[in-house]
């Protein structure tokens, strides 16, 4: 499968023309990560938007006094990172592969320019990003609720 076909087969390309998928593919490359390798590093410039094709990625945060805490794991058909979309374009968390991981890596600057230039592409990418965000916020709220905690107090 060519890179263009691979990009076109992802769900954010649904409804886009061949030409538009081609323009998206022009911002993309396929990148592989070995377990332990970083996709994103906290505080580093957020210059790439990753889309997981295979494998598993963990989102991790350094907590003073508690070490490195994994907040969630992500898998195929999921977006990693959205800091590339909003200023100041800095990563908030670490993202690293926990298994051999294959991704589509979109260069953020040309992707943002394409989204500005062609609002249909912008809307398609945003739809996926917003649904990812809303799913993560919902999960995060459930995690905060601590639904499995013993009644009458948290451990």
């Amino acid at each position: 499968m060519t890179l263009r076909e691979l990009v076109a087969s992802q769900r954010f390309c649904q409804g886009l023309s061949e030409g538009q998928c081609g323009e998206l593919a022009a911002c993309a490359s396929e990148r592989q990560f070995a377990p332990g390798e970083f996709l994103l590093r906290q505080h580093a410039p957020a210059d790439t938007f990753y889309w997981v094709l295979e494998g598993q990625v963990k989102i991790r945060l350094a907590l003073p006094g508690q070490g490195l805490v994994t907040l969630e794991t992500l898998g195929p058909d999921e977006a990693v990172g959205w800091s590339w979309f909003a200023p100041p374009y800095r990563c908030q968390f670490d993202a690293l592969a926990t298994t051999p991981t294959r991704t589509l890596a979109f260069a953020a600057a040309p992707l943002r320019a394409l989204m500005e230039r062609d609002p249909t592409v912008g809307c398609a990418v945003l739809k996926v990003l917003v649904s990812t965000l809303s799913e993560r916020v919902q999960s995060c709220r459930l995690q905060v609720l601590d639904v499995y905690a013993p009644p009458g107090g948290r451990r």
């Binding site: 999960s139 459930l142 995690q143 609720l145 499995y148 009458g152």
Partner: protein, 276 residues
């Protein structure tokens, strides 16, 4: 099904085994004193009576055939905490089995997606064992299990054995990881979108804290699982367990009699009302 002559009269059972599953969860193996072995359906529950302390509803967590009777109990309050301290050999009272069952026969011929949260794995265990015993009758079989942290994962040996079979997709996730946890992290409902099943021919069985079940139900609907094929197991405070007293009422349902397993359409609007 064994129907007790006097439905609210407990029969004596002896605790013949006790396993500590996590800090506050334990499993009893119980045996009847005198009465024949119990027949029940996966998903049903018993009322367990610690003499002089009190009586609580507890799901049956053993296989419907081929295992002694098991109950997996979390020590949360005035009855279950003293129960946790009862030694092996103690005689308790048991009545039941009560309530509706997981619709395993209806699910045959299609895929089965089981979503368990925390202690919710216990009432689902008989259904999982039932499906595995008739594995050829089902398409894909997928178990998604989420719990609080690595120390709260129940039935770890059993999970390892299920994973080793290779004919069941098993994914275990925790809400809060410890540094040594190498598995998935995040709420179990998020795994629904990625489960390897054909939604249109899937039956979903869901058990866990009510808020988790509500979000799981919504995620299943988004995935395309028909509402009528989504089944949840509900809990309410119970007294009689036989539909007399009304303690267990949820909207138009008595959970002891109409439930605990109910299909999603029967719960419409009932899972997000604060007072129910």
């Amino acid at each position: 099904m064994s129907a007790p002559a006097e439905p609210t009269l407990p029969a004596p059972y002896r605790i013949v085994g006790r396993r500590q599953d996590s800090a506050d969860v334990f499993t009893w193996t119980v045996e009847p004193l005198g009465e024949p072995a119990l027949t029940f359906l996966p998903g049903q529950f018993n009322m367990l009576y610690a003499y002089g302390i009190g009586e609580v509803p507890v799901s049956i967590s053993s296989a419907a055939a081929g295992e002694p009777l098991l109950h997996t109990i979390r020590a949360v309050g005035s009855v279950t905490r003293p129960m946790a301290a009862l030694p092996v050999g103690t005689v308790i009272g048991r009545r039941g089995p009560y309530g509706s069952a997981w619709p395993l026969a209806e699910a045959e011929g299609g895929d089965l997606l089981i979503v368990a949260g925390g202690l919710g794995l216990a009432p689902l265990r008989p259904a999982i064992l039932g499906a595995l015993a008739r594995r050829a009758q089902f398409g894909r079989l997928c178990l998604l299990y989420g719990t609080r942290g690595p120390a709260d994962v129940l039935f770890a040996d059993q999970l390892a054995a299920w994973r080793a079979r290779g004919d069941l997709e098993l994914r275990v996730t925790v809400d809060r990881a410890t540094p040594d946890w190498t598995g998935e992290v995040g709420v179990v409902t998020r795994l629904i979108a990625r489960a390897d099943v054909d939604p249109a021919r899937t039956t979903a069985l869901v058990c866990g804290p009510e808020i988790m079940m509500r979000f799981a139900g919504e995620a299943l609907l988004r995935r395309g699982v028909p509402a009528t094929a989504i089944h949840l197991s509900l809990e309410r405070n119970m007294k009689c367990a036989v539909g007399y007293c009304g303690h267990c009422q949820l909207g138009p349902h008595f959970i002891c009699r109409d439930g605990p397993v109910l299909a999603w359409p029967r719960l419409a609007g009932l899972l997000d009302v604060a007072e129910l």
